[in-house]
């Protein structure tokens, strides 16, 4: 029963967080010094076309409507929340009219997910394993070296490492492509191969940096755990070192790491966006960038809202996974 209560309250927090995020996104533009409608008009005017005052007014009215900017602030807000929450409709993209924003997003999202999820999980698993082994035998030279390397890698932002990697592997040695250009139609072998090839550098940057992260924290975790009483008792029972490591230390070390994972999701998403922009990777980040460059307000609102929802949901999922691994929560 207690478990159900925990899940329920976590779900509630999820909903509240999304509402909070969407509200922030809704209100932030309201504080901008530029009226988006006027900005659009200015852009159209600077594009060289000439419009009569009545045409300008008509355009202004339709833009105001498209932006949902008519009516009182409260009614706008209500309409916005209702639209997004119930239908997921962010309206048509302004730059690529009339393609709906949601379809653009649904094409980009799998790319971001693929990149983020695989590299995150890979780095988490590897990092935890390596860190645990290093923490178990902290006096070995290999452990010290690993930790030293991890410490140097961890603070480096992904894109810096990505830059370094792309300098080395794209510019100096022409192994990997400079920007993403995927060949082939979806899901043929050529397509998959091309996707993997193009994703290697961005994924590698994320994996290497995040790996360093987890090595450090799981090594610290393991060194503390190794001093715990139940580990000492397990040793006194005559259990072999490997048994203690895999059955006693690992399951206990992973628990806080799952919690940390939840906390890092937002940060890793940030990193992924930058990566996509730098590498021209066709994911959500790239879409956001395009939206800015083209002043596509609807697309911008849509992608940003989705970022918030995605991160909140991913955090929720990881949080909900935790009881699966910790019997103390599962059976109160």
């Amino acid at each position: 029963m207690k478990l159900v209560g925990t899940i329920a309250s976590r779900l509630l927090v999820w909903i509240l967080v999304i509402v909070f995020g969407l509200t922030t996104i809704f209100f932030v533009p309201r504080f901008a010094p530029n009226d988006p409608v006027e900005a659009m008009l200015a852009k159209v005017a600077s594009g060289g076309s000439y419009m009569t005052p009545s045409e300008v007014d008509a355009l202004r009215a339709s833009l105001t409507d498209a932006f949902g900017l008519h009516g009182s602030l409260l009614s706008q807000y209500w309409r916005f929340i209702r639209r997004v929450a119930l239908t997921g409709d962010f309206g048509p993209s302004l730059a690529m009219y009339p393609t709906p924003v949601s379809s653009l997003i649904s094409h980009a999202l799998p790319w971001t997910f693929g990149l983020l999820m695989t590299s995150t999980l890979l780095a988490w698993l590897l990092g935890n394993l390596v860190g645990m082994l290093a923490g178990w035998r902290p006096d070995r030279t290999l452990s010290r070296v690993l930790e030293g390397v991890a410490i140097v890698i961890y603070p480096i932002p992904y894109y810096i490492l990505a830059l370094v990697l792309s300098i080395l592997f794209s510019y100096v040695w022409h192994i990997f492509p400079l920007t993403t250009s995927v060949q082939g139609t979806p899901w043929t072998w050529a397509f998959v191969e091309s996707v993997v090839w193009n994703s290697t550098l961005p994924a590698a940057s994320i994996v290497v940096v995040v790996f360093g992260w987890w090595v450090i924290s799981s090594k610290a975790q393991t060194t503390v755990l190794a001093e715990e009483e139940f580990v000492r008792y397990a040793r006194l029972k005559g259990l072999s070192d490997s048994r203690i490591l895999w059955r006693y230390i690992l399951p206990n070390a992973l628990l806080p790491q799952i919690t940390f994972l939840a906390l890092q999701i937002g940060l890793m998403f940030n990193g992924a966006i930058i990566m996509e922009i730098l590498f021209g990777y066709p994911g959500l980040g790239q879409l956001i960038y395009t939206a800015i460059l083209q002043g596509d307000y609807n697309l911008l609102m849509g992608t940003i809202s989705l970022s918030v929802i995605a991160v909140a949901t991913a955090t929720l999922i990881v949080d909900l996974l935790y009881p699966l691994f910790d019997p103390r929560i599962r059976h109160g």
Partner: protein, 319 residues
């Protein structure tokens, strides 16, 4: 049977060695309950670790010999080991009941698994189901329900956990069980159950049980022999009934004098002061400062633990 001869064990480098077990001679027989009593910090837990052969976490044997000799119940062959090589005896010939039941069990592993984990090879034949069957019967004999095997440590009460720890140590049918304060922090009712459990087990298995406790009442109830420890050394070692009837060492006398007894009306006397720090031991007898019968010689020469007066070893110049 485990014999300690002139054992000095403790922590730190030779120049600044802190001897938690200082020049101790002690023998544990094959079929008895031996109690080790004393105040906190007197080194009794370290003594237990030395008996177990657990020289980890900085503890080292500076001098003396620790030797073990058992008869393997399965083969009848003699098994002998010296100090640092007890490892393969663990949970086979000797086992350990630790203090503090919550943090001693792996919180994410079921209790049953933790018991099976430690089984010696001779007990592993048979299918999982058969082993489980045997475990359940064994637990029933100790008054524990079979459902305990599927539970996680946090789901059991403190008393139950302690009994599980005892069960864990007893199941492999070891020749020697070392129990470190097994009843501390438990309420009196549960204490009694555990004590009864320990005695019954010892009588049934006819092995040796070494019990460490600061509670003299526990020693009085179940031990055959008792060793009184003070500041790292043994003060008196003898048959429990005899020692309690006529304690020889002033420290023992004070400890027993402080115990409440039914029907006693006179004021109980305590002891002033506290034991010396193990890093700054006095030159003569370590109890001299607090001893009501101390004389000049007590401050100068440390009395050896040797049979005196009534026949059992006492470390005092005047008994």
């Amino acid at each position: 049977m485990i014999a300690l001869k002139g054992v000095r064990a403790g922590y730190g480098p030779d120049e600044r060695f802190v001897a938690a077990v200082d020049n101790v001679d002690l023998t544990v027989g094959d079929n008895e309950i031996l109690g080790i009593a004393g105040e906190s910090g007197c080194g009794k837990s370290t003594l237990l670790r030395t008996l177990y052969g657990d020289f980890s976490g900085g503890l080292r044997l500076q001098s003396g010999a620790v030797s073990a000799r058992f008869t393997d119940p399965a083969t009848g062959a003699a098994v002998e080991r010296e100090a640092q090589h007890f490892r393969d005896l663990w949970w086979n010939m000797i086992s350990y009941v630790p203090q503090g039941s919550m943090s001693v069990l792996n919180p994410v592993m079921r209790v049953g698994k933790q018991i099976v984990d430690a089984l010696p090879r001779r007990m592993r034949d048979g299918s999982r189901r058969q082993i489980r069957q045997r475990l359940e019967e064994f637990l029933a004999g100790l008054g524990l329900p079979g459902s305990v095997l599927d539970a996680y440590p946090h789901q059991l009460s403190g008393g139950m956990r302690q009994r599980v720890l005892v069960a864990l140590a007893v199941f492999p049918n070891p020749r020697l069980i070392l129990a470190d304060e097994p009843t501390t922090a438990l309420d009196v009712v549960v204490q009694k159950r555990i004590l009864i459990m320990l005695v019954e087990i010892q009588r049934r298995l006819r092995n040796a049980l070494v019990l460490v406790s600061h509670d003299l009442g526990v020693h009085f109830q179940i031990t055959d022999r008792i060793a009184i420890a003070y500041a790292g050394a043994l003060m008196e070692v003898g048959r429990t009934s005899e020692v309690f009837a006529a304690p020889q060492h002033p420290y023992t006398q004070a400890l027993i004098g402080a115990m409440p007894r039914v029907g006693q009306r006179s004021q109980r006397t305590g002891l002033e002061g506290r034991p010396p720090s193990l890093t700054a031991l006095p030159r003569g007898c370590r109890f001299a400062d607090r001893c009501p019968a101390a004389q000049a010689i007590c401050q100068q020469t440390e009395p050896a633990l040797a049979p005196r007066g009534r026949g059992w070893p006492v470390a005092c110049h005047f008994s």
